[in-house]
């Protein structure tokens, strides 16, 4: 599905600014949510991966193989993606495309094929993440869809540029969220952690930007 979306709408959105592209994909999300709601009406569902049956006991905490696979997969994906983008022809073409689509096309990069591959790759990774999350969180379309907002927090802290920082920020956010769980007075608000940290992170990153104030009377 992401491949089809990328092939059809990718070229149309290519020349638009990032905000318009983001809103375009949000529209896709709404359509998919509507379709899923239609085919699978709201109902309590669960999915249980076999790896959740195997676990390690670390003190008072039970760590399942699903969780271990999730963490390892995250690290592996970040490393492999970094290597792929840096050392392969397709990865270099993707970086060139992100830098400047027009110049990349002028240099002979097959922009539509590269874009399609990017959509396919992100779709595969998202699908795999959804599979793991459905066991860890819930098998619910709305919950899983808007879980991306929390993960966006890590990407935003990395300014959508650095994979290692994204991974690190994600781990920190997850750690802080988990550490808030036993503190009863604030545990109900622990799910706000990604939003608060992302906002603070963005403001910190933008701290040197001059706030535009005119010196003439307004």
């Amino acid at each position: 599905m992401p491949l089809a979306y990328g092939v059809i709408f990718g070229p149309l959105l290519a020349r638009r600014d990032p905000l318009v592209k983001a809103v375009g994909t949000l529209g896709l999300a709404l359509i998919l949510l509507g379709l899923m709601d239609w085919f699978w009406p709201p109902k309590s569902r669960s999915m249980f991966l076999p790896t959740s049956n195997w676990y390690y006991q670390l003190g008072l905490v039970r760590v399942t193989w699903t969780q271990i696979i999730g963490v390892l997969a995250g690290v592996l994906v970040a490393v492999v993606t970094g290597v792929f983008l840096r050392y392969t022809n397709l990865g270099t073409a993707m970086r060139a495309l992100a830098n400047d689509r027009e110049i990349s096309a002028t240099l002979g990069v097959p922009v539509r094929k590269v874009e399609a591959m990017a959509w396919l790759g992100s779709g595969l990774l998202s699908g795999a993440a959804g599979l793991l999350l459905s066991d860890l969180v819930a098998l619910d379309a709305v919950t899983l869809t808007f879980l991306v907002i929390s993960s966006l927090a890590a990407a935003l802290i990395a300014r959508l540029r650095s994979l290692p920082i994204t991974l690190g920020a994600g781990l920190v956010i997850g750690l802080v969220t988990a550490l808030m769980t036993p503190i009863l007075s604030i545990s109900v608000y622990r799910d706000m952690t990604p939003f608060v940290l992302a906002t603070l992170g963005l403001l910190w990153i933008s701290r040197r930007r001059v706030v535009s104030v005119s010196r003439t009377a307004g």
């Binding site: 600014d17 990032p18 905000l19 983001a22 809103v23 949000l26 529209g27 999300a29 709404l30 949510l33 709305v142 869809t145 808007f146 907002i149 929390s150 966006l152 927090a153 935003l156 109900v188 608000y189 799910d191 706000m192 990604p194 939003f195 608060v196 992302a198 906002t199 963005l202 403001l203 933008s206 701290r207 930007r209 706030v211 535009s212 104030v213 005119s214 003439t216 009377a217 307004g218």
Partner: protein, 517 residues
């Protein structure tokens, strides 16, 4: 406006007469959400600040209204007003960090805000008549409903009340859009640096937009709370914020009524009215409307600009010019052989007149051309011939740059060369002391570069301003600049007359390198 008023009257009267209560409730909800969309229209459409957190602001407005409704006995209109104001304060609080981010990052931060508020509301729930600050009781029996206005308790009456409140908010939006804040927002949306250079207080007007949008959304929250009677968190989902944005985009983000772009084009010409500090007749408000926000007028002998609002208060007053340039001491408007033609008529035909310092009258029967003359002075009407000089300076900056285009055209329809001339005109219309031009000739063909050079050469003479020109076109630099300084890797390697500098070996080496054999 008459059409809108008639439409409003029809919508007020017709649905209750022909629709069932269910559809009346639907129309009420549509009206309320139209108000929320209006708030987002102001932010995204006018200022270019896309927020994905409006539903969260709506929830906050509903929360405030519910709490005040149970805790006080304020009349419903006052309740709405207080709710709107308190929500506007929250909007400003949201807007403060937004001053540092924009575009995609702002949209994502506001989306996260929506998520965070949803989490808080899930924990605190909405007020339902309970005690304490949160006003929520876990008991679900016997809880009172959020009250409606006394004269509109029924569904039909409340539908009409909501519609009238919505119409008033639309009027408020239109008033803003067509006045100083609206012009400031348009300038900010087009280019923040340019707006800042023109004297627009970016911080003030951005926060104003956030406050107005939040006020309208807060009022909508109050109307929604009274409409449904009881509030639940599932009524305010994050995906609703995304749907709302889609609605605003589909409706045409620049027009409150969703008519799409092009109905209210920003004129190409800078505002020569700024030079004059003129005020308009009440019936013909072009001059007052078109004054750039934040524009100041220098009082004699003072470095501090007089705020524009004070200049407006001195209706028709022409502030004296600062003591500089060849026009020093001139205090007159000189019109020579001015002719204006449009629509097959000649409202001004070969007019030659001078206006001395002080208060001068201009009278004549209806249709004599008085208003047209004012429109020429303000730059909104271009004469076919003749000249107008104020205090010795050519009044129309567009005339100064010799750009022959319809002032009503949008900038993006001009060629690159024409746009550069507009940019130069915009830079000089405020009579600055220093004009900084950063590669103004980049990408221009030779002919346009020569014309631009001629314009730049006249700036010091015409406006008494220092011009610092950065460019790689040596012919432009040598034709415009008496003196030149050269930087290379952050160091000054030459300074002096342009001719000497261009012959300097260090300069030649910096540009051409050294030949290795």
């Amino acid at each position: 406006m008459l059409v809108i008023a008639a439409l409003l009257a029809v919508v007020l009267a017709a649905p209750p007469a022909i629709l069932s209560v269910y559809w009346i409730d639907v129309f009420t909800a549509v009206t309320i959400f139209a108000l929320v969309a209006l708030g987002l229209n102001v932010l995204a459409g006018r200022v270019g600040l896309v927020s994905l957190g409006q539903i969260a602001i709506l929830a906050l407005g509903a929360w405030i209204d519910a709490r005040l409704s149970f805790a006080t006995s304020l009349p419903f209109p006052v309740l709405l007003l207080v709710t709107g104001v308190l929500t506007a304060v929250i909007g400003v609080a949201v807007g403060l960090p937004a001053l540092r981010v924009s575009g995609l990052y702002l949209a994502l931060i506001t989306l996260m805000l929506a998520g965070a508020i949803a989490i808080v509301l899930n924990s605190t729930n909405f007020p339902n008549g309970g005690g304490g600050f949160l006003g929520h009781t876990e008991s679900s029996f016997g809880n009172p409903s959020i009250r409606r206005p006394s004269g509109a308790v029924g569904d039909v009456g409340y539908y009409r009340y909501t519609l009238i409140a919505c119409a008033l908010m639309f009027l408020l939006a239109l008033l803003h859009v067509r006045s100083k804040p609206g012009r400031a927002w348009a300038a900010i949306r087009q280019s923040e640096p340019a707006a800042l250079a023109a004297g627009v207080n970016i911080t003030l007007y951005k926060l104003w937009a956030f406050a107005l949008a939040a006020f309208m959304t807060g009022v909508a929250g109050g109307l929604l709370a009274a409409s449904v009677g009881k509030l639940y968190t599932y009524q305010f989902t994050t995906q609703s914020s995304i749907t709302l944005l889609a609605v605003v985009f589909m409706g045409g983000d620049l027009q409150p009524l969703g008519r799409g772009r092009g109905r209210d084009p920003e004129p190409v010409a800078p505002r020569p009215a700024q030079l004059l500090g003129t005020a308009a007749r009440p019936a013909d408000d072009h001059l007052r409307r078109r004054r750039p926000p934040g524009a100041g007028h220098r009082s004699p002998g003072s470095r501090a600009p007089v705020p524009a609002r004070h200049a407006e208060a001195r209706a028709g007053a022409v502030p004296p010019r600062p003591e500089r340039g060849p026009a020093a001491g001139s205090r007159m408007i000189e019109v020579e052989d001015l002719t204006v033609r449009f629509g097959g008529v000649t409202p001004i035909d070969g007019m030659t007149v001078s206006f001395a310092e002080g208060a001068c009258g201009l009278i004549g029967p209806n249709g004599a051309g008085k208003t047209t003359f004012f429109n020429v002075l303000s730059g909104f009407v271009k004469p076919v011939s003749g000249s107008v000089r104020a205090f010795g300076e050519d009044l129309l900056a567009m005339t100064f740059v010799a750009l022959d285009v319809d002032p009503a055209r949008k900038v993006e329809t001009l060629s690159a060369g024409e746009r550069r001339l507009v940019e130069v005109a915009r830079a000089v219309v405020g009579s600055p002391r220093v004009v900084l031009l950063d590669e103004p000739a980049a990408g221009l063909p030779n002919e346009e570069t020569e014309h631009l050079g001629a314009v730049i050469r006249r700036i010091p003479e015409q406006f008494g301003a220092l011009v610092i020109l950065v460019d790689h076109d040596m012919s432009l630099v040598s034709s415009c600049c008496e003196s030149t300084a050269v930087l290379d890797f952050g160091k000054l390697i030459a300074a002096g007359t342009t001719a000497e500098v261009l012959r300097d070996e260090n300069v030649i080496r910096a540009y051409l390198g050294t030949e290795e054999l």
